[in-house]
Symmetry: C2
Subunit: 361 residues, 2 copies
C-alpha cells in the first residue's frame, strides 16, 4: 500500500523537524499546495523559512523511512491523517490562531465537525468532582454535544466516560503520538474511545509524553469546542491555562463551584471571579449555549442543495485550482466552473487570487 501523493506531500512537510504549523501555513500561502512547496525554488522558500528548513524541503522533506510508520499505521481502517485540504478537517479549529495543518485521527471522522464542548479539570480530582464531570458529560452528549477532553486521569477520564454514554460521544485530544497511549492507566478507556468516539493528535506517530506538548494540546481542546467547563482545579493548574486559552479564542468558560475550604474548588472560584459562568447543572450549560450547537454545516444562509454538490468534498481549507478539481472530481471544466459559481453564491467557498478556491466553512 502506498500513500496518496497529496497526503504524502503534506506528511513530508509536516514531519520536517523544526517546521511548525505556523511556518507551514506561511509556506502554503506563499507557494500554494504542499506539492507546490516541495517543488519551489530556494529563493521563494528562503523568503519564508530559515536555511535549514529550505534545505530539508529542497531534499524532498521527511525521508521515506519517516513515512513508512504512517503508511503502516494507516493500514488500520480506523486510522486517518486529515489535512487542511480535507473537508473532514474540524472547521472550529480554523478559528484559532495556530491550527495544525495535519491531524492524526483514530475512530469516527464525523465527530470532528460535530458541535463540541470541553470538560477539563484536575488529575487528582475528588470522587464528587469525577461524578460531576461524568454526569454533566452524559447529559451534554445526550443533548448533541460531543464531549472534548484530554484523556488525562481524573476529570478528563470521567468526562470521556460520560460522553461515551450519549450519542454525541467523545473526542480525546492527546499530547503524544496516537500510537502512544498515555497515561497507561487509561488504555482501556482509549480503546473504548477509538471504537465509539474519536482520538486525535497533531503530533507525529511515536511522539512520547513531553511536558511542553500539553499546553499545545490544550489549545486544540478548547479550539474544537463551543465552550469549556472546568470541574475541579487547583489554582495555578493546567486547567486554568486551558480556560484562559479558551477565553482568548472567544469560547465561553464555565466553572462548577464548591466549598471555599476545598483546594480543588479554588481554581473554579478564581475563574468565576474573572467572569466565567457559574454552573450547577448541564442544563445551565445548554441554556447558556442556547440553540447554537446544531450542526455547524447548517448555519443560516447555507444552501443545502449547493452544500451537497459532490465537488465540495474535493475542496478543503487550503487554496486549490480549478484544474486540480477537475482531476480530483473527474468532472469536465464547464461542470467544475458552474459548481464553483454555485458554491460561491451559497457562501460555501471563496475565490482567491490566481484562480484558486477554498472552503469557508
Amino acid at each position: 500500500m502506498s500513500l496518496d501523493p497529496d497526503l504524502e506531500a503534506w506528511l513530508r512537510l509536516s514531519l520536517i523537524d523544526g517546521l511548525g504549523p505556523q511556518s507551514l501555513r506561511k509556506l502554503l500561502l506563499a507557494c500554494g499546495t504542499p506539492q507546490d512547496i516541495l517543488g519551489a525554488g530556494a529563493r521563494d522558500l528562503g523568503a519564508v523559512v530559515p536555511g535549514n528548513i529550505v534545505s530539508a524541503i529542497r531534499n524532498g522533506g521527511a525521508q521515506d523511512s519517516a513515512l513508512t510508520a504512517v503508511t503502516r499505521w494507516l493500514a488500520d481502517s480506523a486510522n486517518h491523517v486529515i489535512t487542511f485540504a480535507d473537508s473532514a478537517y474540524p472547521q472550529k479549529l480554523l478559528e484559532i490562531a495556530d491550527p495544525p495543518p495535519v491531524l492524526y485521527v483514530k475512530g469516527r471522522l464525523d465527530l470532528l465537525n460535530q458541535p463540541g464542548f470541553a470538560i477539563v479539570g484536575s488529575r487528582n480530582a475528588t470522587a464528587q468532582g469525577m461524578g460531576n464531570a461524568e454526569a454533566f458529560a452524559g447529559t451534554l452528549s445526550n443533548a448533541g454535544l460531543t464531549v472534548v477532553s484530554g484523556l488525562a486521569l481524573g476529570i478528563d477520564a470521567a468526562a470521556h466516560r460520560g460522553g461515551l454514554s450519549g450519542p454525541a460521544s467523545t473526542l480525546a485530544v492527546v499530547g503524544t503520538g496516537l500510537d502512544v497511549v498515555y497515561p497507561a492507566r487509561n488504555r482501556d478507556l482509549a480503546h473504548r474511545i477509538a471504537a465509539q468516539g474519536t482520538l486525535i493528535s497533531e503530533f507525529a506517530l511515536g511522539t512520547p509524553a513531553v511536558a511542553s506538548n500539553f499546553p499545545r494540546r490544550n489549545r486544540l481542546i478548547c479550539g474544537l469546542s463551543r465552550g469549556v467547563l472546568v470541574v475541579e482545579a487547583a489554582v495555578s493548574s493546567g486547567s486554568l491555562i486551558t480556560a484562559r486559552l479558551a477565553a482568548d479564542q472567544g469560547r465561553e468558560v464555565f466553572a462548577i463551584p464548591g466549598s471555599i475550604h476545598s483546594p480543588l474548588s479554588k481554581g473554579c472560584h478564581a475563574l468565576i471571579k474573572q467572569g466565567a459562568k457559574l454552573v450547577e447543572s448541564a442544563q445551565d450549560v445548554l441554556e447558556e449555549l442556547g440553540g447554537s450547537f446544531e450542526s455547524p454545516t447548517k448555519t443560516p444562509g447555507t444552501n443545502d442543495r449547493a452544500e451537497e454538490h459532490p465537488l465540495l468534498a474535493h475542496i478543503g481549507f487550503d487554496p486549490v485550482a480549478a484544474d486540480v478539481l477537475q482531476q480530483r472530481s473527474g468532472l469536465d471544466a464547464a461542470s467544475v466552473n458552474s459548481a464553483l459559481t454555485a458554491l460561491e453564491l451559497a457562501g460555501q467557498i471563496e475565490s482567491l487570487p490566481g484562480g484558486r478556491w477554498q472552503r469557508i466553512r
Copy 2:
C-alpha cells in the same frame, strides 16, 4: 421623668396607628417639624393624609398612655429613641427609599454611623455555614466594619457572634419591639449585643413577631450596610429578598459558593449567576469594598474644624429654623448665623426655603 417636647411630638405622630414612615415624611415636608404638624390645620393635613389620620393628629396624636411605656423604657440609660432630627440618626439609611423617621435603639449609639456590612443567611444553616459566617464577621469587625444582621437563628446569630469578637462589634436589626426578644433562643446573644453592640428597631415597643414585618426589617439591614454577604440560603428564601433589596439600594451583594448538591448553596449560586460577587474569604470582601469603609463623617471635602462646631449636634436631617437652633444651643443669633454659614461652606448643612437648615451628612 418626662419626655423632651420634640421627642414627644415625634412619638405622638409615629405611634398613630396607620401613619407609616412615608406619610410622616410627607407631613414633615409639608408642615415642618413634628410640633408644627401637631399644630397644623385640618386642610393642610388633609392635603397629605386621609381623614382618619387627620383626626388622630388633630386629637394630639397617640394618647398619653401610649407614651408611658416609652418613658419607662427610656429610664434605662442603654435605651434611646432616635429621630430624623438627631445627628445620631444613621446617615446610610437616608439613602434608601423609605427610611423610618423614628428608631428605637438599645446599646451603643456610635455604631449607627460606623461603616456597616450585612451578613445574612438561612436559619437552618449547616455547621460549616455558621462557622463561615462567624469567621467572616470576626475578620470584618476587626477590619472596622460593624456586622449588621437580623438576630435570627443560624447564620444571623453566627454573624453577630463573630462581630462581637472584633472592635467594630455588631448591630442587630430586629423585626419586633425592642422589649420583645425574638427568637427566645437568642436571648443571651441579645443581652451580649445590648452590652457590647447595638440593637435597633423601627417598630413600637411591644410589637410582637409578625411575618409581614420581617421584609421591612430586612430593608434596614441592607440600608445600614455598605454591602450584603449571603452565606447560605435556599432558593426562594428571605435572604434572597434581602439581597434583592440590597441591589435595589445600590449596595454590593456578595455570596459564598458551595457544593452544587447542597440545597443551602443554591440561593448563593443563584445570586452569583445574577451578578453577586463570589467571595472565598473576608479579605475578598475588604478588597472589593476598598478603602471606602473609613468613617462616613470623614468624606473628602469635609472641613474637620467646622464638623466639630457644637451647633452641628443640634442640626438633624429634618429642616430646622435658626431661632430653634438658638434655643437648642443657647448661642446668640449672631453666633448661630456665623456657625451656619461656616457649616454650609464646609458642606455639612444646606439652607432650605423658609429660612430652615438641615444636615447633608
